[in-house]
Amino acid sequence: MSAPTSLYQQLRAIIGPEYVTEELCDRLVYSKDYSIEGIADDYTPDFVVKPGSVDEIERIIALANEFKMPLYTWGAGTSMSGNPLAVHRGIVLDTKRLNQVLEVDPDNLTITVQAGATMAEVQAAAMKHGVFFTHQPESCLSSTIGGALSCMGISIFGAKYGYAYDQVVGVEVVLGTGKRVRIGGKSYLSVPSHNLMNLFLGAEGTLGIITEAILKVYPLPATRDRVSYAFSDITTAMEACKRVHGAGCWPETVYAFDRRSLVQYMERSKTPIPEELSMAVLFGCSGDHDLVEKMLEVISRSCEQVNGVRMSEEVTESWGDSVNINRETFDKSNFALSHTDYEPDLIDACVPLSKFQEYSDFCDELKKEFGWVDIDFGAFIVAGPRGPIPFCIYFSVPIDTRIPREIEKWFEFKEKMYQRAIAMGGSVSNANGVGLRSAPWVREQLGDAWELLTDIKSLVDPNNILNRGQRGFD
């Protein structure tokens, strides 16, 4: 038999025929993520491959370089910004065969995992050793560690523990050159020089493919409890959050939803939401029983000081359950049911805290202009690594994808929203990824630093193989 010559044959020779496909029915499965960008254009790749080892990944990258063929890393494809999509076709590389939890080390509070492991698997492995992995997005049953470290993801426990990439102490990455590097280690400060690790965290697969990560885990809290409060507007809700912080209280969950978002999240449980509510905040606390009780008491006091109204236990429970989707609770996910008529896309611009209300009012006005009223997709705000004080307001915008004009309108809408954010002294953010969504504004915002970034990109990925056309790169 002669040596394989075509790219397809060579891929099959490297990873085995059952893990390489050029069938249209498979390629279409890898052509869209959870973004309107993904439905607005055709991002069907030429091949999908699913390597089983880092060695195979290195060889695929070498091959892609040889053929100058773009390569898009794909975890679970649940991203909300179009960032795993094959903009210039080429190869989609599915990482989920690299899904092993390599070591749980409760003594050093670390867990070492391969990048294709799902968050739920990592959590389950940690829990078996009495420790706790904190990054838990609502997609944790399906989304991967590699995806989480590559997007600036949020977790229901983020108010206490931070982003996904706050959890990393070490990574192994295969660069676009095919070179494998390891940065960091088990000690919490493995930064002998510049913090090179940060280059690859939140990089959305543009600089290298993360293959392994050493992550932080924490002692398992003994109890968890939650409470929720309704407020007359965003400003008051944020004031309550500031008071909670000022009181020295450090909850693990701080999610603020407007009424429309709450209704959307109750699609499956059918829990009625009070009519008069404008903005509500869910606070979740963890720790020993007496501490949790005290924290909830302080939170309640802080909220009531600004006339917050305590929500019923039924609402608190349903809300908590609907965002806490995991191995034991996935029957509570409302996503498919609430996404039948519309697909919401997300504006995740980060404006200064004092401008949340103004920005939200602007969004409401704009939504009216675009004819998007009375549909249950609204605004929500989550607290990130700054404790109970939220940092970023998200607006989900419902698009009827059956109507091409509606899809076009999304692009017009987001342009107005992002520009307004920048004009208000805010920023495009990579919360949930830049991908194709907010990429058009990245260069403008980075200014001179854009050149530095492209120089770095050329160094680690000289043939522009990795996620070509994503994140503002050509």
Partner: protein
């Protein structure tokens, strides 16, 4: 033909919107075959583009779609009953000229030709059934319907059921002929053949004017859920599963059980658990055996993982089906149980083969066999 799929357009669209993949990791087909295409998300994507006209159904697509055990775990994750949409896709593919993966088609061919999916000689079943003294009972409370797997592959199960019924003085009759309930043919998309089976079986059972007792989870679901659809009759005849009856017999004191000192875990058959909501009865029955300690597997009740046998998977992909079963057996082993109990002869077969394949010494039993031994 594609019109049959249009009613699922909304579900496929919802999936294209959200792409959540919550159905993926627990899907037995995905766990073996490992491209996203094999999960419900993959199949819904194919449905979406098929309906849009971008994807022409072909043998490759059929291979992906038929790789589904109909376990319904994706429905729990999704909120939409995607397994029903997948079932309809199988039906449409079956009725088209597309070549189906080997093994699946055979099930319906055999049912058509020999009256059962195993292509066994029905005379064998008749001889056996005629040897059951109760067969002639004119007036009885129940008609015991024995399924093909019990009759041709797991006959001990029949003996155990009979022992229990006799011990509790249940009045029952037996039909002395084996006609497949149609479930296997239905599962591989042959609705026509399934309907034919349903017509003959229903005719036979209705004549008896007795409550039907099924000791196979597949037959039970077929009678209770699919006969109304296939026969367009709301409630063709009343039906009860043997586990439900045993539960009643224990609670009214008709069965006296000897102690058994063992740690036992229970595997919910998809047909009986997720699809019919029978979760508590089998657990009550097991807990009623003095000395038995019932322990749960990590995935139980509505989250129970599939044994891998259903939907034609066992015939179409025997090695994969057994590998899925082996995973479930390992899960059972990790509870420390020495007996893995189920309530379906098809699960019994596949789990036993799964246990054998990994050299597990866990005992795989049905509830009926466990109870019969404790009488």
């Amino acid at each position: 033909m594609i019109e049959r799929l249009e009613k699922y357009d909304e579900w496929a669209r919802a999936c294209m919107h959200v792409r959540c993949g919550l159905c993926r990791e627990n899907c037995p087909a995905y766990s073996q075959l490992r491209l996203d295409s094999y999960s419900a998300k993959g199949k819904m994507t194919m449905l979406f583009y098929w309906l849009k006209g971008r994807l022409e159904p072909d043998a490759v697509l059929a291979e992906r779609v038929f790789a589904c055990t109909s376990c319904g775990l994706c429905d729990v994750a999704c909120g939409y009953e995607q397994s029903a949409a997948i079932q309809e896709m199988k039906g449409v593919l079956f009725d088209s000229a597309i070549s189906l993966p080997e093994g699946y088609k055979q099930i319906s061919d055999r049912t058509r030709e020999s009256g059962n999916p195993y292509a066994e000689d029905r005379e064998k079943a008749r001889t056996f059934l005629e040897s059951i003294p109760e067969r002639n009972a004119e007036t009885a409370d129940y008609t015991l319907f024995l399924g093909c797997t019990e009759l041709y592959r797991e006959q001990e199960q029949v003996t155990d059921v009979l022992r229990i019924l006799r011990d509790a003085d249940v009045s029952f009759s037996v039909i002395s002929e084996n006609i497949c309930c149609g479930s296997p043919a239905y599962r591989v998309g042959d609705q026509k053949q399934a309907q034919e089976q349903a017509l003959s079986v229903a005719k036979m059972l209705k004549e008896k004017e007795q409550k039907v007792l099924a000791s196979c989870a597949g037959c039970y679901r077929m009678f209770s859920h699919y006969y109304p659809l296939l026969l367009e009759e709301e409630n063709p005849f009343p039906v009860i599963h043997s586990v439900q009856l045993i539960d009643q017999l224990i609670s009214d004191g008709s069965l006296d059980l000897q102690p058994l000192d063992a740690k036992v875990t229970y595997h919910d058959p998809c047909h009986l658990g997720r699809h019919a909501g029978v979760y508590d009865e089998p657990r009550r029955v097991l807990s009623a055996i003095p000395g038995v300690e019932l322990v749960e597997m990590e995935w139980n009740r509505k989250f129970s993982k599939c044994c891998g046998a259903g939907g034609g998977f066992r015939s179409g992909r025997p090695d994969d089906a057994i590998a899925v079963a082996a995973h479930r057996v390992k899960e059972a082993e990790s509870t420390g149980a020495s007996i893995l109990v189920t309530a379906c002869p098809f699960c019994l077969r596949n789990l036993s083969d799964g246990a054998k394949s990994i050299g597990s010494d866990i005992e795989v039993r049905t509830i009926e066999s466990l109870i019969a031994d404790q009488l």
